[in-house]
Each structure stands twice: as structure tokens, then as C-alpha cells.
């Protein structure tokens, strides 16, 4: 029999599997063992634990580092100014001076060399910073300053009297403009010798240590710009000059499209400009106007860029351009997307925009429509309403019966008074309450 033949031959037959099968089995076992929890051997749980512990350790170390670095940054803020000196800089050392390469200048000193943090580029340039070491100085009557050529300094109130003011006037200041509209950018020039150092105050709180700075005056006003110049001997000269900044007008307008735009109706513009006395309108079709609030009639429909230039009494001006403003003829027809028919019975669709506030009739809002045909279809495509009269909309009834709540399709065709045809379609939702 067949079954006996197979059983005897094959029941305990042995076939040598390929060596790769054995390897594959052991690899898979190894992988699964790795994923299995077993406290006796390294597996994914141990690996996960190591990773977690490492992360925690890293976080601890990191936060520790963070505190340390904070401490480092704190030190300079403790009130002392540390200036690292160039070894090559020649200094006349005072007797109190420590031989270290760092000098600490006391804050009470009459002249402090300050690295002003807001002007970092000057800090880099100021290689020759020399702190004037004057510890316990009351015995010395005067500072015959070893003022640096390029250095930065700030004078404190106590020192002011000792500096002699040599010159006064505006002859050291050159300004690109002295009068203009805000925001006004002025380029200042300084005709003092290049070796002298200077400080500019612009009168609006701004200042600069550059020789020829530029400054922008943001708001209108009268600003007195002061220039202090220190020559090599520490002598100071002061120059000042006045900059007038006029307010800039703001051009603003609104385009008022009337509700009833006929062929000869124009468009009104409402002018909201401020600080201006003169106006120049450009309607984009070649016509201009100087009126405050002009009215303009466009001959043909199209897109126009309307611009208004408003000029103040000081000659400052501002321009507002509204692009592609006035497109089309101003004629339109629009439909709502829902209405609520009156359950009291058919109204034959007569409506007036004023009386139909409850939206009992589905009707358009329109302007300049001459020809008109409105058709309304059910979702199945059945024509249930048609009107060629603009004053008759759909009251929601079909053959004397109120239609079902739901979505209907409308299509309107016609033309405007200028002969331009229109076709629109959309859906509307009939609501019942």
C-alpha cells in the first residue's frame, strides 16, 4: 500500500539541512534571547538600563556644567572692570600698581576707561587702552591726562570742570541735511584732525563714538546735535548744530463704490490723509485731480491703479497706491446660499430688499442688471422654479406645496446694462424652522 510505503520510508527519514539554516536558527534565537527578559545575561533590558543611566548621568553632568559656566559669566558683572593689558604697552606705573598683567581700575576714579558694550567694534580697535591708575588720589590736584589717541572714555561729573572747553560753535560739524521729513537719515562729518577722539550726541538719546556717523531721526522734532572733540592733550571742544525733522504726512483714502452705480455714476473717494495740505490723485486711466475728495467716472471697465500723493506744508509727502482696485463695471449680481421659506403659504415670490429681512424669498442682490433669468433645480435635476423678473424670487413653494428641506441648484443668466453678459450657478439650502 502507498501509505505503508511512505510511512516506512519517510517517517523517520533524516535529511541534512543546509548549514546556513543552522546559523539562521541560532541567529534568530540569539536575537530573541536579546529581546527576552533574563537577568542572567546581557539583553535589551540591560542595554536600556545602561542607556537610561547614561542619559541621567549626562543630564547631571550637563546641568553641573551649566552652573559652572554661569559662575564664570557672573564674575565680570561684580562691579570691577578688568582690562587685560598688552605686554607691549608702555605705561607709567604708579607706585600702587601690582606687577600683574591685569589692572583693576576702581570705579571711583575720576576718569575711567570703559569698554562700552554697545560699541564692540571700538573695543577691538582700542588696543591702546591705558587705565589711568590713580589709587588714593586726593593728594593730586590735577589730571594731566595721558588721554589716549583712540581710546574710549567717559567723563564723570567730578571731572567736568577740569577739562577746558576750547571751542564752541558749529564749525566742526558737517551734516548732509539739516532739515527734512521723518524718518530722516543724516550723515554727519567731523572736520577735526583725525587723531582726535570725539563723541556725538544726537539730541534724541542716540550717541556715537565714530568720527563720521550716520544717524536716523525717527520722529519729528528739533534736535540739537552736539559733538565733543578731545585732542591729544585732552582738551575738549564742543560743537553743536540743529537738525529739523518735519512730520511726514500719511496718505490714506477709501474708495466708495455706491450701491446704485449707473452708467454715468462716478466713484467717490474719501480722504483720510493726515498732516497734509496738498493732494494729487491719479486715477490710473490718465486722469488726475487736485481735490481733497474727488469723484471720478471711469469711461470703461478695467483694472486701475489709484494713487494719492499727500504733501505737507513742509514739502514732505507720502504716496498710497492701491493696485487693481476698480475692476469690472461695478455691476454685479449675487445670491445667498440659504433661505427660510415662510410656512404660512406661497407668497408668489414678490419681495423688496427692505421687507425680506427674514429671508423668506430666495432672491439676488444686484446692480446694473438689465436681462435676467433665474432657474432653480432640485437635486434630481428637475426644474422647480423659473423667473425672468428681477423682482420675483423663489418663495420655496412648488405647485403650491412647500418644498423639502435640502440643497437646490440655481442658475442665472442675463446681461448688465452695458451689454456684458453673465452666467452664474451655485447651490442653495432650503431651511425649515
Amino acid at each position: 500500500m502507498l501509505s505503508e510505503l511512505f510511512r516506512q520510508k519517510l517517517e523517520n527519514a533524516e535529511v541534512i539541512p543546509s548549514p546556513s539554516a543552522g546559523k539562521a536558527v541560532m541567529t534568530r534565537v540569539g536575537r530573541m534571547e536579546f529581546l527576552r527578559f533574563n537577568p542572567q545575561r546581557f539583553n535589551i533590558w540591560y542595554a536600556g538600563g545602561i542607556v537610561a543611566a547614561g542619559t541621567v548621568l549626562a543630564i547631571i553632568l550637563f546641568s553641573g556644567n551649566g552652573e559652572e559656566s554661569k559662575k564664570v559669566t557672573d564674575t565680570p558683572e561684580s562691579g570691577k572692570i578688568v582690562i587685560t593689558d598688552d605686554p607691549g604697552t608702555a605705561i607709567a606705573p604708579s607706585e600702587n600698581q601690582k606687577p600683574a598683567a591685569r589692572y583693576q581700575s576702581n570705579a571711583k576714579e575720576s576718569i575711567n576707561m570703559l569698554a562700552v558694550p554697545s560699541v564692540p567694534e571700538e573695543v577691538k580697535e582700542a588696543e591702546g587702552i591705558i587705565p589711568v591708575q590713580k589709587h588714593n588720589v586726593p593728594s593730586r590736584p590735577e589730571v594731566t591726562g595721558t588721554l589716549p589717541g583712540n581710546g574710549l572714555f567717559q567723563e564723570t561729573t567730578g571731572e567736568k570742570g577740569r577739562l577746558r572747553i576750547v571751542n564752541q560753535g558749529s564749525d566742526m560739524i558737517e551734516a548732509s541735511v539739516t532739515e527734512g521729513c521723518s524718518p530722516l537719515k543724516v550723515a554727519f562729518g567731523n572736520i577735526a584732525p583725525a587723531s582726535d577722539s570725539c563723541k556725538w550726541s544726537f539730541g534724541d538719546g542716540g550717541y556715537s563714538y565714530k568720527k563720521n556717523p550716520e544717524h536716523i531721526f525717527d520722529t519729528e522734532g528739533k534736535y540739537e546735535v552736539t559733538l565733543q572733540i578731545f585732542d591729544a592733550k585732552g582738551l575738549q571742544s564742543v560743537s553743536s548744530s540743529v537738525i529739523m525733522v518735519h512730520p511726514r504726512p500719511i496718505a490714506r483714502f477709501e474708495i466708495l463704490a455706491g450701491n446704485e452705480i449707473g452708467p454715468d455714476d462716478g466713484i467717490s473717494f474719501i480722504n483720510y490723509s493726515t498732516d497734509a495740505i496738498k493732494f494729487k490723485w491719479d486715477f490710473g486711466d490718465g486722469n488726475t485731480s487736485d481735490l481733497l475728495q474727488p469723484r471720478h467716472i471711469y469711461k470703461s471697465s478695467g483694472n486701475y491703479d489709484i494713487s494719492l500723493v499727500a504733501t505737507s506744508e513742509n514739502g514732505c509727502s507720502d504716496t498710497l497706491v492701491v493696485s487693481n482696485t476698480y475692476s469690472g463695471s461695478g455691476y454685479f449680481i449675487n445670491f445667498p446660499n440659504a433661505f427660510i421659506p415662510n410656512r404660512g403659504g406661497p407668497s408668489n415670490g414678490y419681495y423688496s430688499p427692505a421687507s425680506d429681512e427674514a429671508a423668506h424669498v430666495f432672491h439676488p442682490v444686484y446692480s446694473g442688471v438689465s436681462d435676467y433669468q433665474l432657474r432653480i433645480f432640485s437635486k434630481l435635476g428637475m426644474l422647480i422654479f423659473e423667473s425672468n423678473d428681477l423682482n420675483i424670487g423663489w418663495d420655496g413653494y412648488y405647485n403650491g406645496k412647500l418644498s423639502e428641506q435640502g440643497v437646490y441648484i440655481w442658475k442665472v443668466q442675463g446681461s448688465f446694462v452695458n451689454g456684458e453678459p453673465f452666467t452664474k450657478m451655485g447651490d442653495l439650502t432650503l431651511l425649515k424652522y
Binding site: 511512505f6 533524516e14 541534512i16 534571547e33
Partner: protein, 186 residues
Amino acid sequence: MSDHQIIEGCSKHDRKAQKMLYDRYSRFLMGICLRYACDRAEAEDILQDSFIKIFFNIKDFTGTGSFIGWLRKVAVNTAITHYHKNLKFRYCVEIEEFTSTETGIASFEEDFFTSDELYKVLNELPAGYRMVFNLYAVEGYKHKEIAEMLGIDMNTSKSQYSRAKAVIRDKLNTLRRLKTNYSADG
């Protein structure tokens, strides 16, 4: 190392014992798997899955029955799982083209065919026939058990078995003819 020690080691997930178990029984299990597969590659897939099952479920072996019997059972069950898993990829031949052609010689001499040839015949069978034939003829399960294992009707099992027999007989007859012709020519 005795079977007992190997089982002990495997239940502790000892890699050495696992390797030993594999080396000792892989050929025997491969012999089973090859009967249920259409080729060696599939047989080795089943073999791998079987060993994974054996390694991770060796605690379920109570030690009361024979270890070999347990291994065989695992392998057969794995083969059935494999058959179910791959069922949708197979092209099922259910046409009655194999209706019994028992006209040939009813009995086959045991030693006329090598086991390699028998394996080949089995491998060429449609999967459903092969499963039923193996389980019924070689493993010795009842049709009722086979129906439960494969999730088919008992009568399906019976009819598939008889069809499988017919196909095998056909193939063996062809084989015999070829062999005798060849030896006669030779």
C-alpha cells in the same frame, strides 16, 4: 550529553545546549519538514520556525512522553501553521483531473523507490493534498483530527486523501516506467 541534560540546558536558555539540540535533531526534523514543503527552502523555513518554537517552549515538554514525539509534533504543527499562513499565495488545484486511475499496479515494492524520489513526489503534490496525505498516511492522524487541525471538513480531508493517493500512484507509475526503461536501455 544526554537528552535530559540538553532539555535542562535549553530550558535555561543555554546557548550550548541549544546548539547541541539543533545538531542532534535538525536532520530528523528536516526529514519531517521536507515532507510538508514544496522545496528545500520552504522546508528550512519551517525547520527554523520549529526550532524557535522548541527553544522557547521547551518548558512545555513535560518529560512524560518521548522527546522525539514532542519534537515531531512541534514540527508538524509548525508546518500546518506555515501552510495556513501561505495559503493565500498558493494556487489551489481542485479540479477532478486526478480522478482515480487505479488501473496501474496496486502495490509498490518498498525498495524500488529511493526516499529522495518519494520526497520529490510529495513536494510536487498540491499543498492541500500533501498536508492531508502526510498527516494521514505518515503521521497516522485520523481524518477527524486532520479536519480539525487544518480547519477543513472531514469529507474534504477524505476526498483529498484519496485524490492525493491517486496522484501519487500516477506519478510513481510514471517514475517506475522511466526507471525500468532506463535500466532496460542501459
